[in-house]
Symmetry: C2
Subunit: 445 residues, 2 copies
């Protein structure tokens, strides 16, 4: 029986492109669009400004794009910065079974590579698949124990994903790929303690950079352990109290965990999504104004109060942790976009007035992707909506049109509508691009 | 009571320079000389060649030296590469209580900074002290459990040391310093599984780079947790099963763990050092030739056989794990240098003949820094020497002249005797340099 690291390395480097199912390729494309949108939306976040300012004296040849900006930097710094910008809004993709945000490390590394070392669009998509698949599989073998200990799993397994994607794109041989996984393993890092600070976004950025350099170093002959994942002093044993190596390799090439990647429609924690969904639906299916509302009554899963129980947020960031604000602004606007979580948005008087009318009731048996939303109007009317599965959940995923709309919303934080539409079109055409590096140019300012 | 991270940050940034004892400053200077020698000796190692080749397309402004080479690179890459070269020979310093190799991360980061951002020699020395002190203290709070789990403690705590040294040199305020420690904490990595591969040297290199960038990012305003070391999901709890936070901060500014830093006289594992010491002594105190030797009988601590029991090494690296070779070549040459652990050295016929005459007996009660060495000559003479404490042990540290001799031996791997003597003089004058960056120029080819 081949060992875990060797099996994964063999799969990454040797799996036949033609055997990757079409729907899995489509998840990869959708992941690209969603990731690029998030990176554009986060491009002007202070975390990106500051990291770029700190790195500026050390930047090498400007062959890669800092997404959503006019700066050009070397590929390793691009991987770092685009990994940060794609995660700072907490709006990127999620592998729900492990809580990994797969695209940040994989795509930040891969796009940076593609701008430095030309690869075609088909190879790019296959490399995304390999990156996401391997990242989620390694996470499945150590989670939930690994996450419960305090590891931010996106930081720790992200390096494997980035190394896998880049290793596939560079056509490493299996031994080089095993070394690359080993070099990534010995750089795996990221603590949940830093959540709520700029360091959360640093995790996918550093993972992208570590994984990209791991693949480049392995290609040049830098050696590592060939069993860095499964050995007694390797990744899984050192960074987790539980290990399931079978979950890492079972059904390789037939079972695709990449299919479980999910996309968020709203720029806040997943637990509030059913509520937002219900408020948007009610506002758009009935004739009333915000001033007509007497009470917004929410019946929800316990995590909603635990994670987003802040009744009176004063900043955009706090707004993300306030079910009251999320419900109020969704009902007020009839939609939910990233612009609803700015400092200005939480101070809109009509929204502030509405949020004081929100009541939250915990109802046993309501699932985490479910909510009951009732709006009582001052004229006595009672409007009700039951969200069985929130948009973006596994049971009701966002469709391509919705992901495109999300991209357009986020892209317009930094570019015109026309530029955004052009960038979207380039991302959507990825499989037909002769040079995937064009994505970088499309996402630059 | 102030928390651990805050206390350390306060100490690093606020401790009065004048209150650093003279002997502690001297340890820092000695650490610099020893570290620089190791980096020169390792400068042409394949791990350095390969890492440099892999990084070359991404290198920024050439403001910093790759030690022992003519290449100039940006400071972040210099930190990486000089961290690698200083550890690849396994000849750098050791904090015996924790097995941390303190100087690699601290000095690789600090020298790279000094070549980019001028700092005077006094500040440089104080920054070394802060780096080594904080690194060893954090390690003391989690070791031995942390090391036993499988963490390479030099990799994990090295980032704190580098961040502390650079943070002191950059005169960060206490809050920025706490952020820098937090940024380092969330990048802490390094698995013992990769020992025996090029990745072992990568650990201090990456730690130097992470710690340097952590301090630079914190200075620019990149936020992190202010209690990343002690929080329930922080460094100590996530990366160790045991935590002793008092050991991290007890006697800050009065007890100096930096004093416990030790230097290796011989280019192999510490457990063989008493044997080498005895062989060198016997050869130089009696008149005989290698061909006169009948038996070399060693009575030693059990770890000698466990770690270095290889009777017939075929490569220089294997020679380091062979007490037989180490004893034979030390007796043959009457000294021990890094050149004794090359592929050619293990194949010298007279040495190979001698190593077959080595017998190793485990004797209960013999300490790890102790050995009994007997040489029986063919003419019947019996020569005996009892090494109570090996040179380089805490009880019998190397003196400055011996460290200088080690430097000269290692430096001549890449430079002439005159160049080496000049470089040594510059290192020894560190406290009087107006610009500590001169060290970089002295160590360049």
């Amino acid at each position: 029986m081949m060992q875990t690291t060797a099996q994964l390395a063999e799969f990454i480097t040797g799996f036949d492109s033609a055997a990757i199912p079409q729907d899995v390729r489509e998840v990869a494309q959708r992941s690209l669009v969603n990731w690029a949108g998030c990176a554009l939306g986060g491009a002007k976040h202070p975390a990106v400004d500051i990291a770029l300012e700190a790195m500026r004296p050390f930047i090498g040849a400007p062959h890669a794009t800092v997404i959503g900006r006019s700066d050009r930097v070397d590929a390793l710094n691009a991987a770092l910065l685009n990994g940060i910008s794609s995660h700072v809004l907490d709006f990127d993709d999620t592998h729900l079974a492990t809580l990994v945000h797969p695209s940040g490390p994989v795509l930040a590394a891969l796009l940076a590579l593609a701008e430095h070392h030309p690869i075609d669009g088909k190879t790019f998509v296959e490399a995304i698949v390999m990156g996401i698949e391997v990242e989620c599989r390694i996470a499945l073998g150590v989670c939930p124990a690994h996450y419960d200990i305090g590891w931010h799993v996106t930081g720790t397994v992200g390096g494997f994903g980035a190394a896998a994607a880049v290793g596939r794109a560079l056509r490493l041989d299996a031994r080089q790929m095993a070394w690359a996984l080993g070099i990534a393993a010995t750089q795996a890092a990221g603590l949940r303690e830093v959540f709520g600070t700029m360091c959360k976004g640093l995790h996918p950025g550093r993972a992208a950079q570590s994984g990209l350099s791991a693949a480049l170093m392995a290609r040049a002959g830098f050696t590592s352990s060939l069993r860095a994942i499964e050995a007694p002093r390797g990744f899984a044993h050192v960074l987790s109290t539980e290990q399931d190596f079978d979950r890492m390799t079972d059904g390789l090439g037939t079972v695709w965990h990449t299919r479980e990647n999910s996309f968020k429609p709203y720029a806040c924690g997943l637990v509030v999504h059913p509520v937002i969904d219900g408020c948007v639906t009610l506002r758009n299916s009935h004739a009333f104004e915000s001033g007509d509302v007497d009470v917004i009554a929410l019946r929800v899963h316990p995590l909603v109060k635990e994670l987003t129980g802040k009744p009176a947020p004063t900043t955009g960031l706090e707004g993300k942790f306030s079910v009251n604000h999320s419900a109020a602004i969704a009902l007020h606007e009839g939609r939910s976009t990233s612009s609803h979580y700015t400092d200005a948005a939480v101070r809109i008087p009509a929204v502030a007035a509405l949020r004081d009318r929100v009541t939250v009731e915990i109802v046993p048996g309501v699932r985490v992707d479910e909510a009951y939303v009732s709006v009582r109007l001052k004229d006595g009317r009672l409007l009700e909506h039951h969200v069985e599965h929130a948009l973006g959940s596994i049971r009701r995923p966002m469709n391509d049109a919705q992901i495109d709309e999300k991209f357009m919303d986020l892209a317009q934080v930094v570019m015109t509508r026309d530029q955004a539409a052009g960038a979207l079109q380039t991302c959507r055409r990825i499989e037909s691009l002769a040079n995937a590096g064009e994505i970088g140019q499309a996402l630059a300012l």
